[in-house]
């Protein structure tokens, strides 16, 4: 470690790093170095690496010894480049300290500006800038920000002091405050710090300030918000964050100064249009925080939005021209849409950040296709530009235009704000993030309405179907986070008056209450009272292009888990290449069937069971016929009955009575049978092929239904269906051998009735650890494997999914499992069994067809793992099929 370089300089000529070093320098640090090397105007600074963050935590929140010396050196270099001196009374260097992880984590990490100010340097700054008010305003901002971020003193403390002071002076606005006023406030601020910081004064030494800020950045990597964000964005804690220390430039030095944020293309729609917002005489945080609503940058955009604020293009035409040139240069250089931050200090443009811009799925899609057509990127790159997880947004319903027109005509538009994140949603109004999370946990659809959002609202935003705010622009916290999450969002709907206590929101006298239904259209910024009909999304155009390119790139086949004809149809339209899991028990629950199923269960003899099964046979057969008809010559994997029989029994006393009446069986017999069937741990009980072992007639009926359906559909359509009969919950070769023999016997009895040859396979779920371990044995009998990773996760981790809620939250919070193992495959644990099962199965049958049909089959990270193992296919729910196709392409292209 002694020779490790922990600090990298950038700007002012030489830069140690470049854009390729994102893992080490974080996104911001790497791009600052890269921009500086491109000759763009970047204030000089240095980056403390992400490796240091990791070392810091490995050492128990301590720094490696050699950091001190390296930091000193870089600070000297920075002073030389800036021509200023840190802590100087006459020519003070001020710096910003910002976090910068590998992946952008907006709003998650804390920032300190104006660091280096104290009573001496503030006076120096006042002299140097000739603007005392600016200098002391900056100083008090610094104390406030530093105290909040580093010393954990809430903003309220300082805001109260300021408000009291203004009241006393009879001031209305901050702009009424003069330099001397700020100086007085600063004295009060410092006194408050002593009170709230265990008697310790605000650090006067700029070096102490710097170390404090660095420590706060690293510390914030492990705060709850950061952990939550990482969890929902699949970012491992081990990546760490870098710290960027950069000499300050000031957007708040009067009307020739400004600060802003821009995107090289529209991040909401993907349109190739320079797009951004700015504030004159402001510091960067003001734009992002949404405290003042910023103005558009370009005339075109201002016109489009009907904004009255003067765009940058008008207020500072030269800077605007320079900025668009920089933007062009950056987009061509990075070959992707850029999200840039800039500051104008007394007419001079500085670039503070560039990064690949976050975008909605719709924008990602449009940009990828357009850039590909422009020749900027290849088809494969275009495919990689669309995150599979994001794609989900495009696959869900949007607002029906006719219904919307009608709703508008009916006067049901409640409010209109900024179209901050597209998509539409219907739900009940809530005003609080905890309330949103609680309601969502109960399965309710909610719309979160807030004045503005902050990082504390992340869980509430996640729980909501859409977010509406009264304040903040297109780059406000709410907008950025909502786009990242794929939630529709309407921002800056300024006419909203929210009274959280009363549970009311009103616009111009019209009031809605907590729990009222609204429909949000994130694509237009409108919020409607009541429900507005939605329609299926358009899957042609750009979507079809990307999917076509993805299909060319991928090697994994994609199937679907579906059993109803409606679902099978949807999945087929989404590109499913077969059925990976048809759960036959779902068909048993239909109202007209459950009595027959119960009659079977209540039968006291094999004969009685067979009579009931005789009645079920034509029903199951017609189910399978419908599926075969839709799927044609595509393989259909049908799993034989899996759940324990008690799942089909009535539960409440009332139901019991109904069933007793309907079935002619006494309540006593019914209750007795139900208690006989009761299990302590049904998940590990009498289910799956264990039913087939003890009640062979059930599986025989199902096999017969499958094969008879295949024969019928072959006759009817001239196309031979491809049934794959799957035996669940296998742990031994013997079980497969036993079940398979019966299935094959049934096939041999039925299939010869078809003129067209019908090929079928008999295979097994691999969903118990023992099955994975004994895969070589089992493959001697099984003709395919399908990894049932839901149950495999339950048994390997010893966690019942139904009961996990009680502790899995604590587990994720404490980092015991980085991701929910039921969403993303636990590759280290369950994954090893999947790998073992795959390798051992193929050691016996090199061409063994292997798929996955757990929830993980629709999860991009898990799909990548399946690809790596050389699986034949993944299978997922119908709406996830395009996600899986894209994820499979990503896996192939990244391999």
């Amino acid at each position: 470690m002694a020779n490790t370089k922990w600090v990298y300089d950038f700007g002012g000529g030489a830069s140690d790093g470049d854009a390729s070093m994102k893992n080490l320098l974080g996104g911001k640090g790497a791009n600052l170095a890269e921009m500086a090397s491109l000759g763009l105007p970047v204030p000089p600074g240095f980056t403390i690496t992400t490796a240091l963050c990791t070392a810091y935590y490995d050492l128990g929140r301590k720094y490696p010894e050699e950091l001190d010396a390296q930091l000193e050196t870089s600070l000297k270099t920075l002073e030389a480049k800036a021509g200023k001196e840190f802590g100087s009374a006459t020519n003070p260097l001020l710096v910003s300290v910002r976090s910068g992880a590998r992946a952008s984590m907006p709003g998650m990490m804390d920032t300190v500006l104006n660091l280096g100010l104290n009573d001496t340097t503030a006076e120096g700054l006042a002299q140097l800038s000739g603007d005392r008010r600016f200098a002391y305003d900056s100083y008090r901002r610094f104390i406030q920000m530093y105290s909040n971020v580093v010393l954990n003193i809430t903003h309220d403390v300082f805001e109260d002091i300021l408000e009291d002071f203004k009241d006393l002076q009879g001031y209305e606005l901050d702009t009424d405050m003069q330099a001397e006023d700020w100086q007085e406030v600063i004295v009060k601020y410092k006194a408050a710090v002593v009170t709230h910081n265990n008697g310790k004064p605000f650090p006067e030494d700029p070096k102490d300030q710097l170390w404090g800020a660095i420590g706060a950045v690293f510390g914030s990597w492990m705060n709850d918000r950061a952990i939550f964000y990482r969890k929902h964005n699949d970012i491992p804690a081990s990546w760490g964050t870098a710290v960027n220390v950069q000499s300050m430039v000031f957007g708040n030095m009067g009307d020739t100064s400004a600060t802003g944020v821009a995107f090289t293309r529209d991040p909401g729609t993907g349109e190739n249009l320079f797009y951004g917002e700015y504030l004159i005489n402001a510091q960067g945080e003001d734009v992002v925080a949404g405290i003042r609503t910023p103005a558009p940058i370009s005339k075109a955009r201002a016109a489009e939005m009907g904004s009255d604020d003067a765009p940058l293009e008008v207020t500072m035409p030269d800077v605007y021209k320079q900025l668009t040139d920089v933007a062009d240069k950056l987009e061509k250089h990075y070959r992707d849409m850029q999200d840039i931050e800039f500051t104008v200090e007394e007419g001079k443009l500085y670039m503070l950040q560039t990064r690949n811009g976050k975008r909605t799925a719709q924008a990602a899609l449009a940009m990828a296709v357009e850039m590909c057509k422009e020749g900027l990127i290849t088809e494969n790159e275009a495919v990689l530009r669309l995150e599979p997880a994001q794609l989900d947004q495009l696959l869900h319903p949007m607002i029906d235009q006719d219904a919307k027109a009608a709703a508008t005509a009916e006067g049901r538009v409640f409010v209109k704000g900024l179209p901050a994140s597209p998509g539409a949603a219907i739900g009940k109004i809530v005003f609080d993030s905890d309330e949103a999370a609680d309601a969502a946990a109960k399965g309710e659809d909610v719309i979160l309405i807030r004045i503005e959002t902050s990082p504390e609202d992340i869980h509430g935003m996640h729980a909501s179907k859409a977010i509406v705010t009264a304040r903040g622009g297109m780059t406000s916290h709410a907008a950025v986070v909502a786009r990242g999450m794929g939630r529709p969002c309407v921002c800056g709907a300024g006419s909203l008056r929210i009274n959280k206590e009363l549970g009311e929101v009103s616009v111009a006298g019209e009031t809605l209450k907590r729990g009222d239904i609204v429909t949000v259209d994130g694509a237009t910024g409108e919020v409607f009272k009541g429900r507005v009909a939605m329609i299926e999304p358009d899957l042609s155009g750009d979507f079809a292009h990307i999917m076509e390119w993805a299909d060319k790139a991928r090697t994994l086949s994609v199937r679907t888990n579906a059993e109803t004809p409606a679902d099978v149809e949807v999945a087929k339209n989404f590109g499913a290449e077969g059925i990976g899991l048809c759960r036959t028990e779902h068909m048993f629950f239909d109202a007209d069937r459950i009595p027959v199923v119960r009659a079977m269960i209540l039968a006291s003899s094999e004969k009685g069971r067979k009579e009931a099964l005789e009645k079920l046979l034509p029903m199951q057969r017609s189910d399978f016929e419908a599926i075969f008809r839709i799927m044609g010559d595509k393989p259909c994997n049908i799993r034989l009955l899996d759940p324990p029989l008690h799942e089909f029994m009535p539960h409440s006393d009332e139901e019991m009575a109904d069933v007793a009446k309907g079935s002619g069986v006494s309540i006593e017999v019914l209750t007795h049978r139900a208690s006989e069937l009761h299990e302590s741990n049904p998940m590990l009980g009498h289910r799956g092929c264990r039913l087939g072992v003890t009640y062979p007639e059930i599986y025989e009926m199902q096999a017969r239904a499958i094969f008879e359906a295949a024969v019928n559909v072959a006759k009817e359509t001239g196309v031979a269906p491809v049934p794959e009969v799957m035996i669940p919950l296998v742990a031994t070769k013997a079980e497969v051998a036993l079940m398979k023999a019966r299935i094959v016997k049934m096939a041999e009895a039925v299939l010869p009735k078809s003129d067209i040859k019908i090929d079928y396979l008999v295979g097994t779920m691999i969903e118990l650890p023992r099955a994975a371990l004994r895969a070589a044995d089992i493959a001697q009998e099984a003709e395919f494997f399908s990894f049932g990773t839901n149950d495999l996760t339950q048994t390997t981790l010893g966690i019942s999914r139904d009961d996990a809620a009680r502790f899995l939250g604590d587990y994720e919070k404490q980092g015991i499992y980085e991701k929910d193992p039921f969403v993303t495959l636990d590759i280290e644990g369950v994954g090893e069994l999947v790998q073992m099962g795959t390798e051992r199965g193929r050691s016996v049958k090199p061409d063994l067809k292997i798929g996955i049909c757990g929830e993980h089959g629709g999860d991009p990270a898990s799909i990548a793992f399946c690809h790596k193992l050389g699986m034949s296919y993944v299978s997922c729910s119908p709406y996830r099929v395009p996600v899986a196709r894209l994820a499979a392409a990503h896996a192939a292209l990244k391999a």
Copy 2:
């Protein structure tokens, strides 16, 4: 396969095989060859190998082609040796066909005698023997036996014909039947065969008869009784059985002929005394079947038994002398006690079988020690002579002699029979094996009383605590099987009158009913009415010798699973070298503690929980003090709380009300909390270290109690206890790290209070598949592993032990699991995870202490596996400790 030798000749000079070829020739075949080579009088014959049995099943119950030619050749050789011809009308060769597996399976396999008889050869035999009655009696016996064994026609069919015939003739006994009578009966027998064999006649061709009998032997390998016996004796189905075809000798050719069975030492007590029974003018089956009660062989034994029957030593002194010489020779040759079968044909002795004799545990122990002292075998061989599973019998109570004297004085002796298998038992009378099995399944202790037993009774005998029969001698089916199972047995209690229908048994007018309690003393042959007190067995003498030799031989350490001081004491006396699993939750259930435990669970805050835990602390501490005091400097592995909290909650409404009253909490709150705690699959729920993650204060209290107890006991005794703190249900390294940090903190707070240094370890159960897979990670934190193979079996196989009863029976019956995986480790599946966990754990810490604490820790086969893996110790219930010590020695000696 074409060159495989399937048939091995023996006797009459040359033998192809010898005793070392037991695996191929079966025990009987190998020993017949060996005896012939030793120059003993063995009727010649040949053996069809066990390999053929396996080939037969592999080929789908078909023989390899080349068998036919090999059999022909051997038959020719046999004819030459015997000087007779198979199927000859004048000098017919008759043969016996018997099964002979690697391991002796008494009563399990079928035998056919007198094969080769038909109308022609029977007449030939009549001429040759000059005894028409003998010839036709033999013929009808053959038809009856062959029809039963090969053609599956019940004995009843033939017995009815015979009874009808005798009635018609006015005969009382079989001995009234003359040759002509038998001839008439034979005609009727053959007609009955046609009726009951689908119209097919009895085979006349001796070759057809031979093939039929061979097929029946191989077929019987897979009958239910054989499968059941194998299961309970750990014999794999793959071993197969051999078939022995041997020329007949006749013990039923008049009063100079006889047949008998003998043991070279007493198989019940181990006494070095020649011991056996015989019948004059009888065939071998008559002795074993228990139809006639045989006479003792020796004068000494006859005197001891007070038998009035003349012993062989008196009736045939020369034969007796020759027989004892043979017995001596065989025991010295085989260096073990022999179980021999012999026949005397017209004064000439023939040896039909020798094998190592089955014996009671007591006899095995006595013989092993005595033979070692005689210099016949070494200490290690002596150790190997005692089967660990058998040892169990010696560790359980026997009848108290004083109580017995009192019971006798009170006239409570119900009946006295033969002391066929030692040990004592108390239970309720049953008269039927199914009834016995049903009652045992309900946890009742039953005594099976039968006229005689047959292979159909095996399951009933297994389910009973003791067996009593009215008929049959010391080598009857009941006696042999009971000794093998370690069940006390009283045989041949001839005065018993059993009326199964009425559910009564009486002796001389005194009647007991089904369900009445009796006490059986298998060591004396007495059955007492009611209960007679029992005492602990003597663990000194021979037992102590063998254990001392075993301890020298073994490398595995043996600990115990115990938590009460009484159990810990018993285990220590049985030689436990530490505690492998102290289940702290058992201590929570005490009547004075459960209210406090419930108060903790019902507490709504951490504060409330801590208050309750404060009360539990001194209780737990005193538990641990007691254990440390007994165990001294031996390691004590203490598992922190494992079960889900709902296990401690009241269940019935009544209990609820009681608890509500006692705790001052309303029923509503109580019910709500109970339903909150309810889990779908508690086995996979909120338990083990998951409790420690969500309620750290529980584990902290337990750790504190452990360390404080250690400090107190160290002070009190001057000996430092060796606590090993075990974290249950771990799946990740993070869990161990989290828990360990808290435990270590507690240790650091408490242990310095001791003057004597107290060493402790913090380690983990490995009981989830993921823990085994990630053992290398986990070993970075854990200081020991203990494989919890109960839960590991549940999760790996996906079988809840509580629910398995519903299907595991079917599973074993169908051979899906050869043994109950909760009794003997599933080495192929669960075993691989254990091996993986061991290897991966040791890859990080080569000296990692590794043990096993599931039920398997007391199972000999599983212990052998643990030895092979190089584990540090096994841990089992107190009474299994000597079994484990012996099994560990076996494992080491066999390695």
